[in-house]
Symmetry: C2
Subunit: 192 residues, 2 copies
């Protein structure tokens, strides 16, 4: 029963993410989500609590999942370049695999009420801190040159903006895109 | 009279862009725009035609302006590196100077109806083509190495995503941010 309930929630989140990604959070009524999932409005509210709460879960679950994996990567005893390559692949992979969720994340996070918005943004900031840590390690190792902190934002932006154009079955896999980006970025920050 | 009318439209667009940037296109009523500008709903419609049309003008005017300047830059008899540096500065400058408009562009362009959406996206694609042309020139000159076309999207994404975090009076000017990005990107694509 708990499993069925959880599956139902996953189904609701996925359907809502697709609708939000297509029509925007404010442009999507709870009625539409209820129709897309095929359950009544009352039952839907029972599962999601509120539309705001639903938005919060849609954006934070992939972000926390990605953050956890990122933290595993940087905890490994490997060089900074390899860490960045893996972080890059992870970032492109999660964006491609959960494209509706990330589209909603990047576009509709401002629609979240406090304190939920703060909490969702904290996941994004923590993810950026992981990237910043890997770069700091590279600088400390002498692999990378000293970099202005804005460069981390640029590197992440390069990946994040992909939600606009990436396709799940495009010409390149998410990993290949990450590798192309890393060829440029790593050559661009390497100490010479 | 024509000047006053044009000023009124500029004022309406700016106020609407701020509201759309803050609350989303779908989340903003015409009533609110009318209140923000201090003119009646009827007079507002007289100026804007429709909310859809207003959104279209908000997103396309800065895009066409930037496109025009980008085309002037690449028409100059200068090397590919210098073109990219100038395109980078232009991109960061327009995003910072017209932040509400670009926020709406990146977030709410999907709310536009056809054929307006197609037209707005055409401006974005043309801007990308200008960047791609400057890179192609650099490859032809032997300044840059051969690059997968996806790299252009990454380079532009690095700039475009800045609408999320850039501030008009931040620690670095838009031009300084562009220069930091170019240090990484140009070292990353230079032929060795």
């Amino acid at each position: 029963m708990a499993v069925r309930r959880r599956n139902q929630k996953v189904r609701i989140r996925r359907a809502a993410a697709r609708l939000f990604a297509k029509k925007g959070y404010a442009g999507t009524g709870v009625e539409e989500i209820s129709r897309a999932v095929g359950i009544g409005r009352g039952a839907l509210y029972h599962h999601i609590g509120s539309k705001d709460r639903l938005l919060f879960e849609i954006v934070t679950l992939p972000a926390l999942e990605a953050l956890e994996e990122a933290e595993r990567i940087v905890a490994e005893p490997i060089g900074a370049e390899e860490k960045l390559r893996r972080l890059s692949r992870l970032t492109m992979r999660t964006i491609a695999a959960q494209l509706p969720e990330w589209t909603v994340f990047f576009r509709d996070i401002g629609a979240l009420r406090q304190p939920l918005r703060r909490e969702a943004l904290a996941a994004r900031d923590a993810f950026e801190q992981v990237w910043a840590g890997a770069i700091a390690q590279g600088v400390a190792e002498g692999t990378f040159r000293e970099l202005d902190p804005i460069v981390v934002k640029g590197m992440l932006g390069m990946h994040n903006y992909a939600h606009v154009w990436i396709r799940l079955r495009g010409r390149l896999t998410p990993e290949q895109i990450a590798d192309e980006f890393c060829e440029v970025l790593l050559s661009g920050i390497r100490a010479t």
